[in-house]
Amino acid sequence: MAIAARNALYLRRRLRNTIARALAFAATAFGLGWLVLILGVLIFEGIGGLSLAVFTENTPPPGAAGGLLNAIMGSIVMTVLAIVIGTPIGVLAGTYMAEYGRHDKLASVVRFINDILLSAPSIVIGLFIYEVLVAPMGHFSGYAGSVALAVIVIPVVVRTTEDMLTLVPDTLREAAASIGLPRAHMIVRIAYRAARAGIVTGILLAIARISGETAPLLFTALNNQFFSLDMNAPVPSLPVVIFQFALSPYEEWQKLAWTGALLITVTVLALSIIARSLTARKS
């Protein structure tokens, strides 16, 4: 009797274990399934519209054929400007936290705030830039869009720079100090060099992050039907064009939206894979 009860308990435990394992398998398949499904649909829908015209022609009026040239250019210019603005600030702030303020209060406060900025809703960043740049200037502009993107770049770069500089062995710093190198020189010539791959990774991740950002551009850079490199005026960008075209009733526009979506996704995923392999080789 006792043995039967013990056997029953054993079987129940084994059954539970088997179910849990099956659920874990199923959960993983579920997660991977979405990735395959999303990428599959994206390629299926997007690749048909992929042609030279996409890169050579501007966004069309409703019902006409066209490309995404102005949107792609706008995205590239704004991304570059955002990186140019955001990277130095991010790298310097990360440097302070890893090199000067490892144990001071300011650094830990900044770290905490930075982590919050890192996952703060990007639409709020858009509102912020609208308030401080667009409203005073009186019009939407590419500059405002770039600054909004730069605000998103900064926390990403701060985080990776700090992490990567912390990984640089202290013996390198001590060796530099022992030959009389001032601290600033040690950081620029030695610590940066040792952490270069990691810092570049951070910048690539930041580019990946902002090249798909839509929300902060909606009411900063706005949109533009035409090719324009005037950063003081509304500038089109790929994500905003996708947003507008996908929600439109016109079939040509929806098709272009899918193609644009494919372009963005390929860019973003390629960037994050390159970034990952850069640091993987390092470690």
Binding site: R13, R14, R16, N17, A20, R21, A24, A27, T28, G31, W34, L35, I38, I89, L92, A93, T95, Y96, M97, E99, Y100, L106, V110, F112, I113, I116, S119, A120, P121, S122, I123, V124, I125, L127, F128, V151, P155, V158, A177, P182, R183, A184, H185, S211, G212, E213, T214, A215, L218, F219, P239, I242, F243, L247, Q254, I264, T265, V268, S272, R276
Partner: protein, 351 residues
Amino acid sequence: MNAGFPAIGREPLFQDARGLRVSEVTLNDSALRGAEARSRAAVLKRLRVSDLAFRGLTRGAALMVLALLSGVILALVIGSVPALKAFGFGFITSEVWNPVTEQFGALAPIYGTLVTSIIAMVIAVPVGLMIAFFLTELCPMWLRRPIAIAIELLAGIPSIIYGIWGLFVFAPFLQKYVQPALIDTFDGVPVLSSLFEGPPYGIGMLTAGFILAIMVLPFITAISRDVFDAVPPVLKEATYGLGCTTWEVFKHVILPYTRVGVLGGVMLGLGRALGETMAVTFVIGNAHKVSASILAPGTTISASIANEFTEAVGDLYTSSLIALGLILFVITFIVLAIARYMLLRIQKRAG
């Protein structure tokens, strides 16, 4: 320039770890008087100044991060003053959203934000934990990295892609197959029937919640995996030694040990879900309405802002949308702060 450095000094070149003070003793040494010493002093002075300048520069950049956050809060508060003045506390409790009569209440967006985030967490937390369980305990070693990277790629896909995919692929699928089934199944069941009620639109709060779940899944998985990996092997081995099954080890040892970290990861995911904009904007339906049914279209704070901000005419309309942004920022700030606090705690314990 290196030749300008004194080779031997009575004191080290640096007096403290900051490298601020350069020993003057060396320079005053009688053997080093004259032009050579002066040029050395000049070089050292330049180095000292550049050193200080660099430190100031990095400190300024760090302070800038603080300034950014304060700037965001300040701008939102100033921008939302007109709306809060006009509606007072009623702004949060009123469901009316009427641009024509300029009556604005935030209840529907707040409700939609909370409901979609709850749906997302209900789906993503168990699935994310199970994936992390799979990756740390069950998966063969050589498969761990590829699967982990694949799941993390989900986090890399821009939210607008989730939106367009949700609108054209997922919503029609739900409308055709899942929602009719849900409506039929729960028809007549007391509470659940009102939860799954109404015509199957395809777009709505359930769809938005589901898409959000896929988006926050990688965050929950990544953090859970990290904290699961940090469980000391001795603990697990001891439990296996008692004859426990893998699931029992997970449930009774790993989960309790990593509770704080897992909660931190969940809060981080929640913070993401609350603030997510584009994916939700595509599939939520943008209806300023509080409905019990999760199949009904609704709106979230971020979707309202994204949809209406550029078209908002009049200061009160704009200001109401900014006030919505302020509410969203406050909620996510609190959630994210709790998440970071919990993750910091577990980091400290891990050493």
